[in-house]
Symmetry: C3
Subunit: 260 residues, 3 copies
C-alpha cells in the first residue's frame, strides 16, 4: 500500500462524530472498482481501525453506490495484473467480513455486481429508494462468483434463494432486493446516511464487549470463510476471466457501454 | 438397464425444440412409482444427456404429477426386491440432484410423497393451480424419509420449516406449498409447461459455461449429499419398510385405497 | 439432584390425559430462573420420561412464562456457585434439545432472555397474545449468548436474522417474534394450553416409530450441538459473568429493578 496517499484521493472520509466514520467512494463517474479504488478502500478501512473508530459507514455518490468492477480497465490487465487485482479485491472482502467493528453499507443508488458483493459482507445494508439496480448478475457477463461470495449470499438470504438469484444472473430492483433479503431497509435517498448513523448509534450504546463478542460469534462463519484453504481459488477465477466465453462477453459489454 | 426400451413405454418424450426436452410420466392411472417407472426415468434422463439437450422439464398427467410410491405393488416385493427398488429410486434422486443441465419439475397436479421427493432435487418447481395435494407425508404411512431427502428439504425451505413439515406427516395444498417455499410458482394448469419452457429459455441464453459453473457451485451441497458415506442408509430404510408398524400402516392404506 | 423433592415445589405438574403432561413453572412472582428452578425442571423432565408420557407442555403463569435468569440471586453466587448453576442450566437446555418426545413451549406471557432460550430448544412455541416482551436481549445486560444457543436461533430463524436479533440485544413484541419466526403461533392467552394440547394430539396420532425417528433426524443438529467438544465453554461464560463490564451492567439493572 505504498501508494495509499495517492489512492485515497478516490475516497472521501467524513467523521460524523468521534466514533463514527463514513468512507465514501469518490471515483467519478461510476465508482467503478479498479485496482486504485480497492487499494484506497483497503487503506481507509485500516485507517479507521488505527483511529479507534467505533463504527463505519461505507457510501457512494447520490444515485450510485458503485457500478461494480471497472471492466474496461480490467480488460487491459495481463494475467499478472489481474491476479494482483483479484487478490486485493479478495483482501477487501475479507477485511469487511472480518472487520472488528460494525460496518453499514449505505447503498446510495445503483449497486450491481461488485457493488453488491462488497455490501454482502457488511453488518447491515440500507438502500436508497428509487429506480436503482443491484444484484449479483455476474453470470450474465460470463463471470463465476467464487464460493466464498456464494456462501455470504447463502448466509444472508438462504441456500435456495441464493441459487435462484445467482444462476439467474440478473440485476434486480430495490423492492425485489428487499423482498429476498439482499438489503435490510429501503429509505429515501437523503435518509440513507442518517439511518445508517441511527442504526450504528443504537448498537454502539450497548455494553461494548458483549456487543463485539456476540457480533463475532454471529459472524464467525462469514469471517472464517476467507481462512479456508482454497477460499480465493485464484487460479480458477483468473482462468475463467481469460477464457474465450468470458472475454467475448465482456468485450461485447464494453462495446455496448462505449456506444450507449 | 437392459429393459430400458420396454420401460420407456411408461414415459413420453417431447422435444420442444432442439435443446429442451420434456420427460412426461405416463403410467396411468396415477403415475405411481414402481420399479419399471424408476428404470424408465433413469434411462430417459441419461438419454437427454447423451442427446446433448440443454434443459429438461419433467411433467406428469393433467391433474396428477405422481401419486408417489406404488405402495400396493411394492408391498408384494420381498427384501431383495425392495433393496433393488430403493437403490434404483435413490439413484434416480441422485441423478436429478447431480444432473448436468437445468431441470424443471412441472407439477401438473397432485404430487404427494414420492412425487414431491423427486421435485425437491430439480432446479425449479412450477405447480398447477387447483385443489391438488403435495408434501412429504411419509410419517403418516409409517415411513421415515432418509437424511439425504431431509437435507434437500432443509436447503429448499430452511431447517425449522423442514422439521415442522416432515414431522407433521401431512399433505398440504398448493397455496401452503408456495407459502413455505416447497414450490416456486403456482400457475394455471395449462401454463405449467409454457412457464417451464420460458424459465428454461431465459436461463439458457446466459453464457453457458458461467451458467453451468455457477449452478454447480450453488447446488454442490445438494449433489454431494449423495456421495457421503451412508447417504442411502439402505439397511435402515429396508428394516423400517418391513417393520410391523410400517407394514400394518401401509396395508391399512392399501385396504382403504381398494375400498374407495 | 438430592433436593429434587424440595425443588419440585417450584413447578406444578398437570396430567391432561394419560399421555400428555404439563410442567408449569411456579416460582412467584416472576418465574425467575435460579438454581432451584433449574433443578426442579431437570427433575420434572426426567420424571415425565420415567412415567412414559408421550408429550410434554412447558408453561408459566398467566402473563409471565419466565422473566429469565434471576440476576439478583445469581449475583450473590461465587465462582463455584456460578459454575454449578451454569452447568445445570446448560444441562436443562441439553435435556430439552435431546428430549425423547415432543415438547411444546406454552409461552403464557413475558418470556425474555432465559425464558426465550429454553423455548428455542422445544419442538414448538405457542405465544400468548398481548403486550408481552420476549427475545434474546442478553447483550443489553452485558452477557454473551454461547454458540450452542446462537446455533439454535440460527436453526429457527436463519443465520442473518439471528445475527440481527442477537446483536441488537433488544426485547421484541409478540408480533415481531412471530414475524421473525421466534414463535410459531400467537393465540389468546386462554388458548395457549388448549392449542398446545391440540398440536400434540395431532402429532401423537401418527405412527409412533416413524414420528420419533423422523423427529430425531430433523432435530439431529440441534441435539448434537450439545455433544460437541467445548459446546458449553464454561470458562468463557464464567469469565464474562465476572468481568467488570458485565457485573456493572447487571448491578445497575438490579438497582433499577429494586427502585422500580
Amino acid at each position: 500500500m505504498s501508494d495509499s496517499s495517492a489512492s485515497q484521493a478516490l475516497i472521501e472520509v467524513i467523521d460524523h462524530d468521534a466514533s463514527i466514520r463514513e468512507i465514501r467512494l469518490a471515483r467519478p463517474p461510476a465508482n467503478a472498482i479498479n485496482p486504485q479504488l480497492v487499494a484506497s478502500l483497503n487503506a481507509a478501512l485500516d485507517q479507521a481501525v488505527s483511529d479507534k473508530m467505533a463504527g463505519v459507514i461505507m457510501t457512494g455518490a447520490p444515485g450510485l453506490f458503485s457500478a461494480g468492477l471497472d471492466v474496461p480497465e480490467l480488460l487491459t490487465l495481463d494475467e499478472t495484473g489481474m491476479r494482483a487485482f483479484w487478490s486485493d479485491f479478495f483482501a477487501l472482502l475479507k477485511r469487511v467480513a472480518q472487520y472488528p467493528m460494525p460496518l453499514v453499507a449505505g447503498l446510495t443508488g445503483h449497486s450491481p455486481a461488485g457493488g453488491t458483493v462488497i455490501a454482502l459482507f457488511a453488518d447491515y445494508r440500507i438502500q436508497a429508494r428509487g429506480p436503482y439496480q443491484l444484484g449479483l448478475n455476474e453470470v450474465q457477463v460470463g463471470l463465476v462468483v467464487p464460493p466464498v461470495i456464494h456462501q455470504a449470499l447463502v448466509r444472508l438470504i438462504g441456500a435456495y434463494r441464493a441459487e435462484r438469484h445467482l444462476v439467474a444472473g440478473q440485476m434486480i430492483s430495490v423492492d425485489q432486493a428487499q423482498a429476498i433479503g439482499l438489503v435490510d431497509e429501503v429509505v429515501d435517498p437523503d435518509q440513507v446516511i442518517p439511518r445508517a448513523l441511527e442504526w450504528l448509534k443504537t448498537h454502539l450504546q450497548m455494553p461494548r464487549k458483549a456487543l463485539l463478542t456476540t457480533r463475532a460469534i454471529c459472524r464467525a462463519e462469514l469471517a472464517q470463510g476467507f481462512d479456508a484453504p482454497g477460499a480465493m481459488d485464484l487460479d480458477r477465477f483468473v482462468e475463467g476471466w481469460f477464457s474465450d466465453e468470458t472475454q467475448k462477453t465482456m468485450q461485447a459489454l464494453v462495446a455496448r457501454l462505449q456506444k450507449g
